[in-house]
Amino acid sequence: MIWDKKAECMTAKERESLQLGRLQAIVTYAYEKVPFYKKRFNSAKFKPSDIKTLADIKKIPFTEKADLREVYPFGMFAVPGTEIVEVHSSSGTTGTPVVVGYTRNDIDLWGEVVARALTMAGTTRGDLIQNGYGYGLFTGGLGVHYGAQKIGATVVPVSAGQTKRQIQIMADFGTTILTCTPSYALYLAEAIEEEGVAKKKIKLKAGVFGAEMWTERMRQEIERRLKLDALNIYGLTEIIGPGVAQECMDKTGSHIAEDHFYPEIISPETLEPLPEGEKGELVLTTLTREGMPVIRFRTKDITSLKKGQCPCGRTLVKMDRVTGRSDDMLKVRGVIVFPSKIEKALLSVKGIEPHYQIYVTRPHHLDEVEVKVEVSKKVFSDEIKHLEELRKKLEKAIDEAIGLRVKVTLVEPKSLPRSEGKAKRVFDQRQL
């Protein structure tokens, strides 16, 4: 099923000409309407008329999260307040929050791209969507909500948390589509098993999971336990929220709505564009946002792009799983470590669940990494001997994956916090 066949299946040539026209228009629009861009472009000696081809995009200066913070709260808006019908905001966990404004057309666009996403997961009017993303300033809840409304599916705005209630709704209402973070999906699976809910009462078909990094192993685990197709949704507040990209049933990457969000991959070191297929930092440009155009935004997400026709019929470029963040990449004893690699190593050991935390400390002028892993019922042994074997096995698996000896500590089940939004898993306590 394809929500917008024309937009999602056009030829590369058609799309490129559409993108170029939109890029030229949005760059001009941003330059004229947002003082920040005028100043930035001028000081880089860039003129909107310099954009002759799509490749010329590399002439435009980047926009970073810090820039968006600096103009807090409304400095990036391109329209007067009377045109803004909604605002959202990033959590601000790492500093001043970023505020994003939407015009009526922006909200309509948001609904469209999320409708595409939900349709990729097989959602139709007949489905019941249990929306476990937080409603509020966080874009997850309302973004999915607008998409569901476009389709005409029934949306249950349960929001994040309240696990018992989630399970009750799932069983009593007969939820078919679940939307939440992947770690919360796993937590729900755990809780469903513990509550002993009859299997036939759970009618889930697909899950649209996002807002945090996850792995293929985690997908398999969720699919096995919840008996659904687990698909990735990608998005970020600065660009629009969820719906920037979505995985189809082919499960080989997420289709970017590139007619609205133009993607590039750059090297986080040289900042130069990288050839197709190479791994680097994703940079996005909103091609059609009115309220707040964002030009060449450095997402810090590490991924790669793959063009071409997908077996699902779509021609939209696919982005690979986000495997790390260029700013969350840890440097431990000089070695670059992506937390996702540690997760992959942990999950390669049978019975281990993806509930872990990574602590980096520097006790004696030398970096130490400690990975706390919960001991689930499945891997528990009443013999210390066996638990020690498990611990060593985990240490070995991580060593092999990242080339670094770490200390694995076994902790009690459910002692690590479960996330309802973005899971915080890395704690760098080195005070560098």
Binding site: V375, K377, F380, D382, L410, E412
Partner: protein, 136 residues
């Protein structure tokens, strides 16, 4: 000759862990007959023999503890010199590999049980059949 079952609970080596576990027993009116703690570094396994095993097991599980239930060998010990020696000798003679041992004192205090963790309780009992050994 009954079945003696032991609860094993995973616990981090932190103050208050034992308190949390035993509170579950106290609240449920479960009586602890024997306790044994084996720990290494940051964590350990606490083992209990209790009067109402199933109840204790369900409660602990319900409270989110990682807990397992295993059958162990309970060998009667009379309160006299040389008793433990005789038992251990018998175990050795029949090549029964002992993983862990602790003691459960009977209600009368005249009798105690040696709690022996072995891989296969049934097989161990079978091998010890000819010996002058009484089981729990």
């Amino acid at each position: 000759m009954g079945e003696l079952r032991q609860l094993s609970v995973f616990a981090e080596n932190k103050p208050g862990r034992l308190e949390k576990i035993t509170k579950v027993f106290a609240d449920e009116g479960v009586n602890i007959l024997a306790i044994y703690i084996s720990s290494i570094g940051d964590y350990g396994v606490i083992k209990f023999i209790v009067d109402r095993t199933d109840q204790a097991y369900t409660s602990l599980k319900g409270k989110g503890f990682t807990v397992s239930l295993n059958e162990v060998l309970g060998i009667e010990l009379e309160d006299r010199p040389g008793m433990l020696y005789e038992v251990v000798r018998a175990l050795g003679k029949h090549a029964i590999n002992v993983e862990n041992v602790h003691v459960l004192v009977g209600e009368s205090r005249n009798k105690a049980f040696l709690i022996v963790e072995v891989e296969d309780v049934k097989e161990a009992k079978e091998r010890l059949k000819g010996e002058n050994i009484r089981f729990y």
